[in-house]
């Protein structure tokens, strides 16, 4: 079937099998491999993207179901060469190690901060509780999201410019 999906503000039209999972559409069909896959049972949250402005696990949504809807992925966090404060926070606070869960974590974090700009440690822990990280023990992810909360609205710093 043919579907049209808006991803990161760009319209994509593809012929796909109706059973194709959204995560595979993003990764294999339109080449956005920043969204990862980690389990078959909707438990790990590695594949979290936004659909219609809400974080969802893209392994448990059919691409066909996303037709006519908008999807946002990690590739859209950086705007005009400026890292999102969440991205900067993950770097500043060492909120990532292998980087595999990171895109999903950051998409949830961005959504949390959009709805709760000053979350407590517990609110952050609850928000990311459907997403597994095997590297960080979560501590630095929590710190990273707090960093982003405290640095929202600031101009881009070196993380976006020098290190890139």
């Amino acid at each position: 079937m043919n579907i049209e999906v808006e991803v990161n503000g760009v319209g994509y039209s593809r012929d796909i099998e109706p059973r194709m999972l959204l995560v595979h559409f993003l990764r294999d069909e339109i080449g956005l491999t920043g969204t990862h896959w980690g389990c078959d049972t909707t438990n790990c949250g590695t594949c979290v993207v936004w659909m219609d402005e809400v974080p969802v696990k893209s392994c448990t949504v059919l691409a066909a179901m996303a037709a006519g809807h908008s999807v946002r992925t990690v590739e859209d966090l950086e705007q005009n060469g400026t890292l999102d404060p969440v991205q900067q926070g993950f770097m500043e606070m060492h909120g990532l190690q292998c980087g595999f869960c990171t895109p999903g974590m950051m998409m949830t974090a961005r959504w949390l901060l959009d709805h709760n700009p000053d979350p407590s440690e517990m609110e952050i822990r609850e928000a990311i509780s459907g997403q597994i990280c095997r590297c960080t023990g979560y501590e630095n992810i929590v710190r990273a999201i707090r960093w982003a909360a405290e640095h929202s609205g600031e101009p881009a710093d070196k993380a976006g410019e020098v290190m890139a």
């Binding site: 595999f100 095997r134 590297c135 501590e139």
Partner: protein, 792 residues
């Protein structure tokens, strides 16, 4: 919740943000499943539904007829290529695809190559396999019974499920110590089967170029060089035509050390179809068939005086290795480094005996940040010390303090032959107790107990042995455990360092640049780390067992030192003086007594590539190489304290606090070291509370998905409290010891000791992990369960 110091460094050791982050943050990492080659096909593996069954027939006709299928591979086909069986990492064999029978649930039976991954999966359903189900051997404790089914009838003359017996220590002397001891405490315990479960599953893309004959394998491997050599040996492929690339790896933890059948099948698929073939596991395949860890049934005994002087330790281990002996460890040591089980204590004598058995379960045993089974050793000794404390009615911290090795005893030769390099153990334990407020916690506990509430405080002290290892003692399949490193300084003073080890998240691109920077003074930002590609890096055995910093880090330090030494000669030629007249300050050689007269490393690099006349025998350019054969292992250590609250009616455990004091020698990048510790502490909470792979009587795996194999989330983990002491290693060129696995090794007994401490009011001395609410409640009511079997 406090972060490490915000002061950042640009040269050498200290906190610096990670170089690799800039791509990961943008979703621009390059993991194996991100690789897409022109014409690439996709493979899928058909697996056994049974734990033990004879294969009567396999019919692949319908699968082959599927319009998108390009090849179907069975064990019979592999036999014609001499690839049905390949050597294991422990002088056994493993089946790539089963030919005669299947020996565990999830074992590989057939392989399909198709145009896309969906079609490959569909075709699996079209393969008809007729099985004749055999009785399965599931309980390691009965594996050696004569009535148990024979699993390895493929081995000529094999009549039982016995793999090996191995012992270490002085049995006679230890028996004497026990005979004369005032107090002996015995305890059986299980370290259950757990799984590293990295977020990225295992997979490979194989691309055989039919014209050049060059085979490139991108795979999830922690040891690309070792893999290349093994592929050459196994498949008879010429090693110079083999290139193994380990791109970004989504976590390893020991899961990605070995060569799995899927990798070999991707290669076979590419050879057969003359196209690139990708194979990626699903999560169940990862949990059910790739390297698990532990599965050690341990029977420990500890001997002491009445006043708490520990004298001896004795242990028998029944080691469940699954259907093939495929543990990854140095050849000489079939039980890994378990024989460091005397731990951090000054005791007279220790003896261990290990029996390895086959069962109808997935093979493995050494994985999951275990430092070659130091996890099991530390768990054993730290539980035994707590059992002794309970018997003697002594505080477990005090009992430890009384028996810890003292700083002046280092280097210390252990009863089982280890030479501990350096340590100040009492200082680390005191610091952990101070951070925890140990006395106050004990008071709080007493008050809670008076009210009938369950609170527990658990202490553990661990000594790691990492950085394997000296070539004279250690090899894997004949490959010595040394690592190479090349440092090359370009004419403009920028440098590239090539490593044999491979990061899976440990931050090598940053920390190895820091090592080069520390020694040469070149800014960290000016140093590029190249790793993971066997065509562009020197040989070495890879990253596992916390060995990157102690082995490859030493190679890197020495190669950098050689650059600096050569720079001195070149600077002397530039300044027209003798090298001996020069003195080093970070990044610059200058004339002794005349600091204004000197040359920076960047100036020297340019001159090294220019027309400058150099002394006889000194070649141009500014490079350094090293192959490092470590003289000894390194011995990081730490003191951990865990505080738990338990709901006695539901059995639910809450880990309230966790204090971790680690000593891994000097810290290259304290931010990264702290992150490594955090991750390992979460592992400990996971193993103690929820992670376990059990089997039912038929051999069905009960932990085959993330619905069943539970990993800790942000809500089970407390906000970690960390501290450090620094005791350099005397034999590492920079004093570094390694830290990757310390917390995974040290934390499980701290959590378990805390839980048992809380439950001791019921007279409980031990029960096995994981302490799910059910296990806690069953322990309270006096009937703890076996956590390796189906609950009844």
């Amino acid at each position: 919740m406090t972060a490490v110091s915000d002061t950042e460094t640009t040269i050498g050791f200290g906190r610096v943000l990670r170089k690799e982050d800039v791509r990961f943050l943008r979703g621009k990492g390059n993991y194996v499943d991100d690789i897409k080659l022109p014409g690439m096909l996709h493979g899928a593996v058909l697996r056994s539904p049974y734990a033990h069954a004879k294969i009567v027939s396999i019919n692949t006709a319908a699968a082959e007829a599927h319009p998108k299928v390009r090849a179907v591979v069975t064990g019979k086909l592999l036999e014609t290529l001499n690839l049905a069986w390949i050597p294991s990492l422990s002088h056994d064999v493993i089946a790539v695809l089963a030919t005669d029978k299947v020996r565990y649930q999830g074992q590989e039976v057939a392989f399909v190559v198709a145009d896309d991954r969906y079609a490959a999966r569909d075709a699996l359903e079209l393969i008809e396999v007729e099985y004749e189900v055999l009785p399965a051997v599931i309980d390691a404790k009965t594996a050696l019974d004569p009535s148990s089914a024979l699993i390895r009838d493929d081995i000529e003359g094999k009549s039982d499920n016995h793999i090996f017996d191995w012992d270490c220590g002085d049995q006679e002397e230890t028996d004497q110590v026990f005979d004369q001891a005032e107090v002996v405490v015995k305890q059986e315990m299980l370290y259950p089967r757990v799984h590293p479960a990295p977020m990225e599953t295992c997979g490979a893309v194989a691309d055989m170029d039919p014209i050049s004959g060059k085979l490139t394998i991108w795979s999830t491997t922690q040891a690309p060089h070792a893999h290349r050599t093994l592929y050459a040996l196994v498949a008879g492929l010429p090693e110079h035509k083999l290139r193994v690339v380990s791109p970004d790896i989504g976590g390893g933890f020991g899961n990605k050390v070995g060569i799995y059948p899927g990798y070999v099948l991707a290669v076979v698929g590419s050879i057969l179809t003359k196209r690139p073939v990708k194979w990626m596991e699903d999560r169940s395949e990862n949990l059910m068939s790739t390297s698990f860890a532990r599965d050690y049934h341990m029977s420990g005994e500890i001997a002491a005086t009445k006043d708490g002087k520990i004298l001896g330790l004795r242990v028998h281990v029944l080691a469940d290795h699954g259907a093939f002996n495929n543990t990854a460890q140095p050849t000489k040591f079939p039980a890994g480094f378990f024989h460091i089980f005397s731990g951090s204590y000054d005791l007279r004598s220790a003896y261990c005996q290990v029996t390895g058995v086959y069962t109808n379960k997935a093979p493995g045993g050494v994985a999951y940040a275990c430092s070659f089974r130091v996890t099991e050793a530390v768990y054993l000794v730290e539980r035994m010390v707590d059992c002794l404390a309970q018997e003697l009615k002594m505080d477990p911290a005090e009992l430890r303090m009384r028996n810890l090795l003292k700083p002046e005893q280092f280097p210390y030769l252990s009863p089982t032959g280890w030479e501990y390099d350096s340590g100040d153990y009492p200082r680390a334990l005191r610091l952990a107790m101070d951070i925890a407020g140990y006395e106050t916690l004990r008071q709080e506990q007493a008050e809670k107990r008076a009210k009938g509430e369950l609170m527990g405080i658990g202490v553990s002290f661990f000594t790691e042995t990492v950085g394997a290892g000296p070539k004279k003692h250690m090899d894997i399949l004949g490959l010595g455990m040394a690592d190479g490193c090349d440092v090359r300084v370009h004419p403009t003073g920028k440098a590239v360092v090539r490593l044999s080890v491979q990061t899976q998240g440990q931050g090598h691109e940053t920390t190895f640049a820091q090592i080069v920077s520390e020694v040469t003074g070149i800014p960290i930002a000016d140093i590029e780390v190249v790793h993971g590609d066997t065509d562009s890096t020197p040989f070495g055995l890879g990253t596992y067992g916390s060995r990157s910093t102690p082995v490859s880090g030493a190679a890197c330090a020495i190669a950098s030192q050689r650059v600096r030494d050569k720079a001195r000669i070149i600077a002397a030629a530039m300044l027209e003086c003798s090298p001996e007249d020069l003195e080093w300050e970070s990044g610059r050689w200058f004339v002794k007594g005349d600091p204004s007269s000197g040359k920076t490393i960047q100036e020297i690099a340019l001159a090294a590539h220019g027309p400058l006349e150099l002394p006889d025998g000194v070649e141009g350019h500014l490079d350094g190489q090293c192959v490092y054969d470590p003289p000894n292992l390194t011995y990081p250590f730490g003191a951990y304290i865990c505080v738990v609250d338990i709901d006695k009616d539901t059995g639910k455990v809450n880990v309230r606090r966790f204090i971790a004091v680690d000593d891994c020698g000097p810290r290259i990048n304290p931010m990264i070291v702290e992150g490594q510790v955090h991750g390992g502490l979460a592992d400990g909470v996971g193993m103690a509370l929820m992670e376990a792979i059990a089997f039912d009587e038929e051999g069905n795996c009960l932990g085959g998905s993330f619905m069943d194999y539970l990993l800790p989330t942000s809500l089970e983990c407390p906000s970690w409290e960390t501290g450090q002491t620094v005791t350099p290693s005397p034999h590492h060129p920079l004093g570094l010891k390694g830290v990757g696995e310390s917390a995974t090794v040290g934390s499980p007994p701290a959590v378990v000791n805390a839980i048992i401490d809380a439950l001791s009011v019921y007279g409980v001395r031990h029960a096995d992990m994981p302490f799910t609410p059910a296990q806690v409640w069953r322990t309270i009511v006096g009937s703890p369960m076996r956590t390796d079997m189906a609950f009844k």
